[in-house]
Amino acid sequence: MATVDLPRPAAMAIADPDRLKHKFSRNIKERIIEMILFLAALVSVATTLGIVFILFYESLAFFRHVPLVDFFTDTMWTPLFSEPRYGIAPLLMGTLVTSAVALCVAIPVGTVIAIYLSEFAPFSVREAAKPFLELLGGVPTIVYGYFALVFVTPLLQKVFPGLPGFNMLSAGLVMGVMIIPYISSVAEDAMRAVPMSLREGSYAMGATRFQTATRVVTPAAISGIAAAYILGISRAVGETMIVAVAAGMQPNFTINPAEPASTITAYIVQVALGDLPHGSVGYQSIFAAGLMLFLLTLVFNILGHWMRRKYREAY
């Protein structure tokens, strides 16, 4: 591009001018690999978009029959009755109550485990505990469901004699146990990401290990810990098999965890098992319920990811 004629070194003059150009064969290989990778990524994105599309599409059909106002204000969910009513409130309540019971277990226990593993446990204990926690998270949820139904519920009935065989308490408690490892591992990662210099600063002021863990490390990791809680919440809201098996499938508008109730997820399973004819309003109702669930977990996941990003930026 130089317009001024400078004396060139001899080597440059005799060099092959094409030597630095793109090589066709290498190019084509790169392109093919890129295409394959792109297609793989596309499959997952397309699946997600497809699911969202179907949810909206079928829900739209549902809301043509059921007014939005009824959906949100009616307190009865009776799609099988001759005069069906479609108020999402009982299902939503079932989801919220079981989730709340689960989180009452999972948040405190998960946090304590995270603090212990990150700040107190010697290396060997930490390494030994991790596989156990992972195992807890890897047990199929149907196993947890039956565990709740045939073991935890009878146990609870010894303490609370009037407790029905299906109840939200038992399902929630077991679901809490299932969620513990999700919370503890994310919270522990957040705490371990706190720089050692902060801990040393605290110890140097004469703080104990406990004071350092609770007053310096935990606040420093707070957004990561909050992210762990939110991931736990969205796990609880979306959990299906435990509640379907152990909480009963009767929509019940109550906040009393000792009663049986259905949840959004349990209702979807119930319908999907095949009581309602394809294309009926009742059948379409599972998409509306699914859409609710999707939006609920989406909100929590976005919140969780946002907080995780925030805590990564903090240090």
């Binding site: 110890y203 004469g206 004071q211 310096v216 420093a220």
Partner: protein
Amino acid sequence: MSAVLKTALPVRESPAPESLALKAEAKGLDFYYGAFKALKNLHMPVYEKKVTALIGPSGCGKSTFLRSFNRMHDLYPGNRYQGEIRMYPDNVNILAPDVDPIEVRMRISMVFQKPNPFPKTIYENVAYGMRVRNINRKSTVDEKVEKALREAALWMEVKDRLHDLAFNLSGGQQQRLCIARALATDPEMLLFDEPTSALDPIATASIEELVDELRQRVTILIVTHNMQQAARISDYTAYMYLGEIIEFGETDQIFIKPRNKQTEDYITGRFG
């Protein structure tokens, strides 16, 4: 390694004037990181209300020595002390196994290389040492926080935003906040590990000025990689090399007439 370095010089028995009191003294101190011997038979006095500087090339053990004074090494497994650091007037070996490191740290505070404020407000950062001692009476804490911030020359800059997060301060302000935090509990001794190495020249000057003022009320032991800094702010200087104290003496003497050839080479820049 030359023969000169192998023979650790005996510490000068300084016939201290009457006003010169010992605050602490290393006596035959060895330190091990696992199997690695990082400090070898250190002997060194630390005089009360004086500034003692530790200088020497990187990796010679300055931080390791400094961190022995507040038992920081106890935080990590595999570390081992041998020998003594005596603290006065108690005349107790603070490295003894029956001495609680927390008690030691309550009396000997530390300021680190990189400012490390806690994720709390400016006020709560300074109050931290009181909080962990369960001193919570508001009037007491208020008073001590203000006093410490004044002593750290930070009060005027932060008095209107005590309840802002400490992270919002500049690097130099954060380091002065860490000094205030260390001062708020009235320690007898302050340890500084290269407190200005992460700061710009102006912030460095203000920290040096601060150290100069603090010597009137607290004993200071400071590690520095900067020889001019040691010469400017310290009363006594120890030159360390490969885990040993090669020479210890009054700062003027060390910088003007070092007795040891090794020290002289380091100070004149022919080495290190």
